[in-house]
Amino acid sequence: MADELENAPTQENELPVEPKAEDANTPINIKVVSSTGEEVFFKIKRNTKLSKLQLAYAQKIGKDVGTIRFLYDGERIQEDDTPQSLDMEENDAIDVMVEQVGGRR
């Protein structure tokens, strides 16, 4: 569990644009929980777009990011969402779910 991986390849590029720079810059730990319950921890700045985290996670598990869904409190994480915009807290969990389809065949 909890492989602590500093997932920072992209976040270095992010410059704080928020006035509350100090707060926004504070990295927080976010855990990504797969549908089987496996957890992966990410450290991410509060103003970094979560889409980066999504890409990194998809890459890690070897799936197309278009086939998995990232949910925070049950809501799909949008393109522009950041930990700050979602008001995320330390160690909050993001649920990863696999795409669902259905037609009954």
């Binding site: 278009g66 049950g74 393109e79 649920d95 779910m97 669902q100 389809v101 259905g102 037609g103 065949r105």
Partner: protein, 792 residues
């Protein structure tokens, strides 16, 4: 310990059908002589109960395993508290246990039933248990524990059997997957709770609120010495007096059972009867008696008639009862109290008075009326529009509870006042309120609400907002497509199997599917024209038309699309729908979660108050991980609408798109969409499957009850001073919905259902199921304009 009573051979949880040893059991629970035998009454009972429980569910198919040879008894998947055990009638078990079932019926029908009850009570007041000749064939085998009590685990098995027998006997056609050996959460005796809890197993059976049962309980409790937990003989009165101190009786199990039974009766009797439960609680025991008064009634009238009809009620308490409240041992030959127990009988008004005079602990957000000035010890809790009075106390608690369904009837119960107020001002109160406030209306009127606020009444959080939000009493009638509409939809649907919007198909659509017409047709009414996709598109500010959506559906890439209509990519992005997903709306495509949740979001934002659409991942997460995984999902919204157990009239509807199979490998994407609906107003959980037999309703019911129980604990925790509705009152129902005839439209059915409920877009009635894909495309691309035209 008086275990000798139970010394009959007990096979460790396996309960063989026990002939009831005479004299050992239920002394008083059985009517003597005057009552028809159980066997005779049972048919009647069944019918009645069936009506009560299921009258509205003709289409329900719950199959039960055949627990008993030769009897096709459906079995409730008694799992984790998911099913209400007792509300369901049991054909097979119409025997001894059932008198309770009968009783409710009887009471309603027979005015004199209560009198008999009292006689019975009087007879048994002696505590001498009249040995009931227990006809062997009448007994439920397992309902009686014999000898040493089985452990909780063992008993649960019994419960299952019992419940299943009872619950589903009338549904021979139902099929139920084998139980996981799980029990209703509350039917299981809490190990931490001393013996008194055990009878609870039987409780479900008796839950119907037998007056007998309560009597039996009292006797038992009388003979029950405080700390010594005597294994209660499981009377077929099946009641367990809970020794769990619950000042409010809102604990999951017991009161709810009572109430559900009661409610079940009431819910369908309409104006025929009113039943009231008076659980009296002294911190250890609860006495329950069920009173039925002719309907309509005011509370005052009810009390009067109750007193007249029912006379005595017997209570047991360990507390000192003021001597003027009641005369101990009024019941001749009452079992002598032990260890400071007091047994008393009194009339209802005396009881109320007694409660008034009973020392109370610090009030918990109670409403104090005039009595407060006169007697510091009295607190009343009036819960607006729940028709309930609660008098919280560590010593004695009485609750008069009238089922919320009464509020649906034209005649309403009245706000109650108890004790001094009632006695002194009964007539005055009656006059006043009959003319002025007929009921704590729904939503509570401003006057009453402000009054209650002044008085410090605890009002459920959210109720204020609720009352503001729900300015429409009738905003949300149940969505019920007419039979004709369903038929039409079915027949019409068979023509909707085209694969692409070819010119031929468009011509066909223009001919047969008004909502999809690309041109108006001579003969269409104005209204029809206004509600067609054609009109929708034609009246848009831009010059988009049907072909634009077609292009979107068939375009290869966003770039290609952008060249044609730059707004489209933005619209899709706004909805978090990828083009790939969007193109699944082409005929024949399987809808995926993006479309499902995008439409869900639109519905949530535009829906009628109270409608909440869950994520399509909700069930998967809940089933896999449990309540903790989803407890925060939509929490604010659900709380805003009052939650699931508010005693207030609650319009909350939770719409759940379900990706089937619910339990599946995490990496698979599913094969089917079904739809679940939790309707708080009618307390119904519905399962809509457009391809019946594919989805598993049982798993859905079990899973959703995990959630609802979790919610109950949460809501109870945050509203300590409010009696919540019971989590055991849900009725499960498989809705009969139009069936798909192909292998790809289930998601469209689900979306149609959600739109119908959330936005009241009546596609079924317009017989346009096959045009739904176009509707959905238009909804996603142009939600604002679309809703303006199509949503009511």
């Amino acid at each position: 310990m008086e275990t000798t009573q139970h010394s009959a051979p007990h096979t460790g949880g396996q309960s063989p059908p026990l002939p009831v040893p005479e004299g050992q059991y239920r002394p008083d629970s059985r009517p003597t002589g005057s009552f028809p035998t159980a066997g005779v009454r049972s048919p009647h009972l069944i019918a009645t109960n069936a009506e009560m429980a299921y009258s509205s569910h003709a289409d329900t198919h719950v199959s039960l395993p055949h627990l008993r040879a030769g009897v096709q008894s459906s079995r409730i998947p008694v799992s984790d508290g998911q099913f209400r055990p007792d509300s369901r009638p049991n054909l097979a078990v119409s025997t001894v246990a059932e008198p309770s079932l009968d009783r409710s019926v009887t009471e309603k029908e027979m005015p004199y039933a209560s009198v008999e009850i009292h006689q019975h009570i009087a007879l048994h007041a002696g505590g001498q248990s009249t040995p009931l000749p227990a006809p062997e064939q009448q007994y439920r085998p397992d309902s009686r524990p014999t000898g040493p009590f089985p452990t909780a685990g063992e008993r649960s098995v019994q419960v299952i059997a019992t419940n299943s027998e009872i619950a589903y006997a009338s549904h021979a056609d139902t099929q139920v997957s084998p139980p996981d050996g799980q029990c209703r959460r509350d039917s299981r005796p809490d190990p931490s709770i001393p013996t008194a809890a055990e009878p609870s197993l039987d409780r479900p059976v008796t839950g119907k609120g037998l007056p007998y049962a309560s009597t039996a309980i009292h006797q038992h409790s009388a003979s029950h010495t405080g700390g010594q937990s005597t294994p209660l003989p499981v009377l077929d009165g099946q009641y367990r007096t809970d020794d769990r101190p619950d000042p409010f009786f809102s604990i999951t199990g017991e009161p709810s059972l009572e109430r559900s039974a009661t409610n079940g009766g009431m819910a369908h009797t309409g104006t025929s009867g009113q039943s009231t439960v008076f659980p009296v609680h002294d911190g250890r025991y609860r006495c329950v008696s069920r009173l039925v008064a002719p309907f309509p009634t005011t509370f005052a009238q009810f009390l009067e008639s109750s007193v007249t009809n029912c006379g005595m009620i017997r209570f047991v308490t360990t507390q000192n009862v003021p001597p003027h409240v009641c005369a101990p041992h009024v019941c001749a030959g009452g079992q002598p109290p032990e260890n400071g127990e007091r047994v008393f009988s009194t009339q209802i008004n005396h009881i109320l008075e007694g409660i008034r005079l009973t020392p109370l602990p610090a009030p918990v957000g109670g409403l104090s009326l005039e009595t407060k000035a006169k007697n510091e010890n009295c607190k009343l809790n009036v819960i607006p529009s729940s028709c309930a009075i609660v008098i919280p106390s560590n010593y004695t608690t009485a609750r008069i509870n009238v089922h919320p369904s009464l509020r649906l009837s034209p005649i309403h119960a009245q706000p109650f006042l108890v004790g001094d107020v009632l006695r002194k001002h009964r007539s005055e109160f009656q006059e006043q309120n009959e003319s002025k406030v007929t009921l704590l209306p729904h939503p509570p009127n401003a006057e009453l609400t402000s009054f209650l606020k002044q008085e410090g009444t605890a009002i459920l959080s959210g109720s204020d907002r609720l009352s503001q939000k729900r300015s429409h009493e009738d905003a949300f009638p149940a969505f019920t497509p007419t039979q004709q509409a369903v038929e039409d939809a079915k027949s019409n649907f068979t023509t909707g199997t085209f694969q692409e919007y070819t010119p031929d198909i468009l011509a066909d659509v223009n001919e047969n599917s008004p909502a999809l017409r690309t041109q108006p047709k001579v003969g269409d009414t104005e209204e029809l024209q206004n509600r067609t996709i054609w009109r929708f598109l034609a009246t848009r500010p831009s010059d988009r038309n049907v072909s634009a959506i077609e292009i979107v559906l068939s375009s290869a890439s966003l770039q290609e699309l952008e060249a044609i209509d730059p707004d489209v990519p933005q619209a899709l992005s706004r909805q978090s729908v990828s083009l790939m997903s969007f193109k699944r709306l082409k005929p024949g495509g399987w809808v995926n979660d993006e479309i499902m949740n995008a439409v869900g979001r639109i519905i949530s934002s535009k829906a009628f108050p109270g409608v909440v659409v869950s994520s399509s991942f909700f069930m998967a997460k809940l089933a896999k991980i449990g309540y903790s995984a989803v407890c925060k999902w939509k929490k604010n919204l659900l709380d805003f609408y009052g939650g699931f157990y508010s005693p207030l009239q609650n319009d909350l509807k939770l719409l759940i798109p379900i990706s089937e199979p619910i339990m599946r490998n995490e990496d698979t994407r599913g094969t089917h969409w079904t739809f679940g609906l939790v309707d708080c107003r009618s307390r119904v959980i519905e399962y809509w499957d457009s391809c019946q037999g594919i989805g598993d309703a049982d798993i859905f019911f079990k899973t959703i009850m995990v959630y609802l129980h979790g919610r109950y604990a949460e809501e109870k925790g945050s509203n300590q001073n409010i009696i919540l509705r019971s989590p055991d009152q849900w009725v499960f129902k498989r809705r009969d919905v139009p069936q798909q005839t192909n292998g790809w439209d289930c998601g469209v059915f689900v979306l149609s259902n959600m739109l119908s409920i959330g936005l009241r877009i009546d596609f079924f009635q317009q017989q346009h199921i096959e045009s739904m894909r176009m509707h959905l495309a238009a909804l996603l691309l142009h939600s604002e304009e679309y809703l303006k035209i199509f949503a009511k």
